[in-house]
Every structure is written in structure tokens, then in C-alpha cells.
């Protein structure tokens, strides 16, 4: 029973991991850039949702929509003024541009919001749902549902709309897409904006059970990379499965292993995937 409970807990966590990682994998798939500052957009999302709650009393689940909007704008400008300048530069320039962005965002948060931990109070934070001997805490269940909605939204956008088609076309063959009248620069800007906005949305919906702080990006960085590598960098469906898998691995490993080794488990999964199947466990890359 403990095992089933752990798997259930893991899935609830994993749903959120999926949403925050979709953005990272989408950006890589379309623009071929690993955004090392992706987890910092999660932090931005958490702060936006926090202030929406603290100032206007908006529940973080809805504040997350505001997080999405704010990060979308920041992401759009970042792509236009920074990332687009290094697309043809050597890889080392691409890596260190987003690394520089990571440092800037972390410290901006420290300067603007201070180093203290900020958390919200919600009417449902101590509630839980019980069925058949299994317990799900309400904040986890609600954020899981929000993740599912966001995930379906992205799927609909990419698979069912004209815009989604042009994005997929650009990631498959930039030149050919250009020939049929797609403006890749524009696609890149919107993709990057959407990617970081999704992660910021994830930041908003986890606020009911996690505290916001300038170092939250550090906690999530490696985790997000593990998720996308597991699913195959650039593979959106892979990120969903990878997210759920990482949630379950984390939750189940805490049954057998001391807390110290939890990160080690994740790292072993990460490094083994990179070493043995760099294209990801899910297989074919769509990006």
C-alpha cells in the first residue's frame, strides 16, 4: 500500500514536473538552444503568483495565468534581444549567454524580493482527498489538474493549430519552412516566450505547497534537465512522460533510501540516460 501511495504521490508531483519541463524541451526542439536559465522562469512565476496573492488576494492557481503572461513578455524580449544574436555563434557562446541570464535573474530576484522565503495561505492547503485508503493532499491534486489542463493546451496548440504546424515545420527544416512563407525569427520569439511562460505557469501552481525564494531555480534546474533528457531533448511528449517518471522515481526512492541519496538517484538516472541513450528513453525526437 505504501508503494501505491508513493507512486500516486510521485504522479501528482510529476505532473507539475512535466509542465515546467515542456517549455525547456520545446525551446531546444525548435531553436536548438538549451536554456540554462529555464528554472529561473519558474522562480519568476512563483514571485508573480505570490504578489498576485499578497496584493490582490488572487489564488495562486489563477495567479499562475498572470505568471504565464509576465514570463511570456520577458521571454519574447529575451529571444529578440539576446538569444537571436547567438544562434549562429559557437556553442560555448550559446551556453554562456543563458548561463549569464541565470546569474542576472537570480540576483535581480535577490535584490527586488529579498532572500526570505515567501509562502501563501490557501483555504485548501490542509485539506486532503481520501479514497480506498489512499490520500492525496488537495494542493497537489489541484496543481496536478492545472498541469493536465496546461499540458492539453500545449498539445492542442502544437498539434491542432496552424501556428503549431509552422512551429513543427520550422524545427524540422528551417529553410523549407521559410520557403513556404514562415518567418522563423517570429516563430522563435513566440516559441521561446511560450516555453518560459509554461515554466512560469508551473511556478505559480506549485506555490500552494512550496515557498518562493531566489534560490528556488537552483533546486529545480537539475531536476528539469533530468526530465527532458529522460524524455529526449526536444521531445514534448517525452517531457510529459519524463516528468511523471521523475516524480515517481523521487517519491518511490524516498521509501528505500535516505534523503541524502534522493538527488543521487536522479543524477544516476540522468547520467545513465545521457550515456546510454542520449536521444532519450522515449525514442524518436520530434524536434
Amino acid at each position: 500500500m505504501a508503494l501505491i501511495q508513493a507512486i500516486l504521490d510521485g504522479l501528482m508531483l510529476g505532473g507539475v514536473y512535466s509542465v515546467i519541463s515542456i517549455g525547456l524541451t520545446l525551446v531546444f526542439g525548435v531553436i536548438s538552444i538549451v536554456n540554462f536559465a529555464q528554472a529561473q522562469f519558474l522562480m519568476i512565476g512563483m514571485y508573480v503568483a505570490y504578489y498576485a496573492w499578497a496584493v490582490f488576494g488572487i489564488d495562486p492557481i489563477f495567479g499562475a495565468l498572470l505568471s504565464f503572461a509576465v514570463a511570456f513578455v520577458i521571454g519574447y524580449l529575451t529571444q529578440q534581444f539576446l538569444i537571436s544574436k547567438v544562434l549562429k555563434a559557437p556553442e560555448v557562446a550559446q551556453i554562456f549567454l543563458t548561463v549569464g541570464l541565470l546569474i542576472v535573474l537570480d540576483n535581480l530576484a535577490l535584490i527586488l524580493f529579498g532572500s526570505e522565503f515567501k509562502s501563501v495561505q490557501t483555504p485548501y492547503q490542509n485539506e486532503s482527498i481520501e479514497f480506498g485508503g489512499l490520500i492525496v493532499s488537495a494542493p497537489y491534486a489541484i496543481s496536478f489538474c492545472a498541469s493536465v489542463v496546461a499540458g492539453l493546451g500545449v498539445w492542442w496548440l502544437l498539434a491542432r493549430t496552424w501556428w503549431g504546424r509552422t512551429v513543427r515545420a520550422t524545427s524540422q527544416d528551417r529553410m523549407a519552412a521559410q520557403l513556404i512563407g514562415v518567418n522563423p525569427e517570429k516563430i522563435y520569439r513566440i516559441t521561446f516566450a511560450l516555453g518560459v511562460a509554461l515554466t512560469a505557469f508551473g511556478g505559480g501552481i506549485i506555490l500552494p505547497y512550496l515557498t518562493a525564494s531566489p534560490s528556488v531555480g537552483e533546486q529545480f534546474g537539475v531536476l528539469m534537465f533530468t526530465v527532458v533528457v529522460l524524455g529526449g531533448l526536444g521531445n514534448v511528449m517525452g517531457a510529459v512522460i519524463g516528468g511523471l517518471a521523475v516524480g515517481v522515481i523521487q517519491s518511490v526512492s524516498s521509501l528505500f533510501l535516505p534523503i541524502q541519496l534522493q538527488n543521487l538517484t536522479l543524477f544516476c538516472v540522468f547520467i545513465l540516460t545521457l550515456a546510454l541513450k542520449p536521444e532519450g528513453l522515449i525514442g524518436r525526437r520530434t524536434g
Partner: protein, 328 residues
């Protein structure tokens, strides 16, 4: 002909002059003062950047996790000193060995990776060590960190000195050692093999280069030099904690940034980069830190972004470009 002669004499005399200056410099400033500390750290970071340069520059494997080896060296020598009273000089060798061995083990799964993937894997490795060091309190002292046992008399055997001068020369020696090793590697067979791997791994393998052996060897040398630097740093600094010693920004990224500023894959890049970045950081820290936490780090990130946008090949390339434009 005449200018040719001048050049043959110019190089050794510049080197001679520079060495005299470098050797006299510590005696011109207060021996426990601020200036000598900055110079000492400058040579330490130049050495760290030089060891990064071996994998980052020659093989073009961009590591974002060199703090891992730095921290392993620091923990190895300090724990040996605390529990077994082992002299830090032997701890230096032990730290290098542990870091080198870890470098070898890490390169087994990572050597096939390139570009972003390699950067991700190395970043994750250092982050995991950081979280282990933070949680495994019985061994590492946890988030509080470890202190080098202080001895009032100090002395050579304990690598503790009342004056700042000995450490200045120790770090200088470390820099000379790492630069010598870098130069040896880049001029020997392994250096050409690494460059061939960088240019085209498939054809490098086709002409008979043992890819596995070359990469593991480079990784061992780079990691063990970094581990040695970690040992020297804690002996110099007396204290460290997991977040500072395994730091992504202030160790891993910083050493790479020093190389980028100075010019990746050049012998003098690390020294040029360190001479530019460390004094600049000191200026930031003294002028901006009073204005609040994070401001000097923010400036640091902005510099990194600016350099990448202006000239990702570093200052040497930038000066080359400017002088070409001016027609000099």
C-alpha cells in the same frame, strides 16, 4: 633583419622582466594586506582556469561542473588533516588523486557527449555533490562547512603561514605548474589528438586515435589539477562550506568565464582573463556590495552577457579586431 634580431631578444627580456616584477611584487605591499590577497587569488584562479582550459579549450568540452573537482580536493585534504593529522602537502597529492579518479569515472559516461549535453551532465554532477555535501553532515559537517584546524605556530608542514608571502608563491608555483602542463599537452601527441577530436570525432577515430584513452587522460589531468587548487584554496582560506566550494556561479562558471575572457584554448588566456576579471570583481565588491546583496553578482552576470554578445572569443580576439580596424 634588424627587427628580427630585436624580436629574438625581445621575448626573453620581456619574460625576464615580468618574472622579476612578479617575484618582487609581494615585497612591495603589506604582507598580510588586501593587495597580496588579491594577487594570490588571481594566480589561484588563473591555475583553475588553466586546468579547465585542458578540457574546455583543447577538446572543446565545455564543463559547467569543475567545482566538483575543486570541492573534492578541498574535502579530501581537510578531512585527512582533521581525522589523521595528515600534512596538507600530502593532502594535496591525495586531493589530486581523488579528483583525478573522479574525473576518470565521470568521463566514462560523459565522453561521448558534446556541446550542450556535456555541459548539462557536468553541471548536474557538481550540483549533486553539493547536495550530498549539504546533507551528509556526519562526514562533511553539512551546510555549516569545515574549518582547517588552526595552529598558532603555523609552519611549513601544516601549510599555515603568518605572512601572506608564502601563499603568494605557492599559488604562483601552481599557476606555473598548470601552465607548463597545459603547454606540454598542447604541443604533444595528446594535444593534437584532442584538437582532432574537437574538429571531427569520426575522422579522428578513423585515423586511429584512441578516443577513449585520450579523453579520459585529458579529463584526469584537468580534474586533478583542479583538485589540487581546491586543497590550496582551503589552506589559504581556512574555511569552506558546500555552497561556496561546489558553487555553480562562483567556481564552475567563473573559471570558464576567465578562459572565455582571456581566450579559450590559448596558453595565456587564463592569466589574461584572471588579470581582467578578479580586479574588476574586487572593485564591484568594494563599491557595490554596500548597496545590497546580489548587486555585484548581477553586474557579473551582465558582464558575461556583454562579452558573449560582443566577442565570444575573448579579449585577445577583440584587441585583434580593433587593431585591425585601426590599421595597426
Amino acid at each position: 633583419m634588424k627587427s628580427n634580431n630585436l624580436n629574438t631578444y625581445a621575448k626573453p627580456s620581456v619574460i625576464l622582466l615580468a618574472s622579476v616584477l612578479v617575484c618582487l611584487a609581494p615585497f612591495c605591499v603589506s604582507d598580510q594586506g588586501y593587495a597580496i590577497r588579491v594577487f594570490t587569488l588571481l594566480f589561484l584562479f588563473a591555475s583553475m582556469a588553466q586546468s579547465w582550459n585542458i578540457v574546455g579549450g583543447l577538446a572543446n568540452q565545455i564543463s559547467l561542473g569543475h567545482a566538483a573537482f575543486f570541492g573534492l580536493g578541498a574535502y579530501t585534504s581537510t578531512l585527512l588533516l582533521i581525522h589523521f593529522a595528515l600534512s596538507p602537502w600530502l593532502g594535496f597529492l591525495a586531493g589530486m588523486s581523488v579528483a583525478g579518479l573522479t574525473g576518470a569515472l565521470l568521463s566514462l559516461p560523459t565522453m561521448r557527449l558534446r556541446g550542450h549535453y556535456f555541459a548539462l551532465a557536468t553541471l548536474a554532477f557538481a550540483e549533486v555533490l553539493r547536495s550530498i555535501a549539504n546533507t551528509w553532515s556526519s562526514l562533511t559537517g553539512g551546510p555549516v562547512g569545515l574549518s582547517v584546524p588552526f595552529s598558532a605556530e603555523g609552519g611549513l608542514a601544516l601549510m599555515q603561514f603568518k605572512s601572506g608571502v608564502p601563499f603568494y608563491f605557492i599559488m604562483l608555483a601552481m599557476f606555473i605548474l598548470s601552465t607548463f602542463i597545459y603547454k606540454q599537452i598542447s604541443q604533444r601527441k595528446i594535444g593534437y589528438e584532442l584538437r582532432a577530436l574537437k574538429a571531427n570525432p569520426a575522422s579522428a577515430q578513423a585515423i586511429g586515435i584512441n578516443v577513449t584513452k585520450t579523453k579520459i587522460l585529458a579529463s584526469i589531468i584537468s580534474a586533478s589539477l583542479m583538485g589540487g587548487c581546491g586543497v590550496l584554496f582551503v589552506q589559504f582560506n581556512f574555511f569552506f562550506d558546500p555552497d561556496s566550494i561546489f558553487s555553480l556561479v562562483s567556481i564552475s562558471i567563473r573559471v570558464a568565464l576567465i578562459c572565455i575572457i582571456g581566450g579559450i584554448g590559448t596558453v595565456w588566456g587564463p592569466l589574461i582573463g584572471a588579470c581582467f576579471l578578479l580586479p574588476l570583481e574586487e572593485v564591484f565588491n568594494s563599491t557595490l556590495s554596500a548597496k545590497g546583496a546580489g548587486i555585484s553578482q548581477l553586474a557579473y552576470g551582465l558582464i558575461l552577457i556583454a562579452i558573449i554578445l560582443v566577442e565570444p572569443r575573448g579579449l585577445q580576439a577583440l584587441f585583434g579586431r580593433i587593431s585591425k580596424k585601426l590599421g595597426i
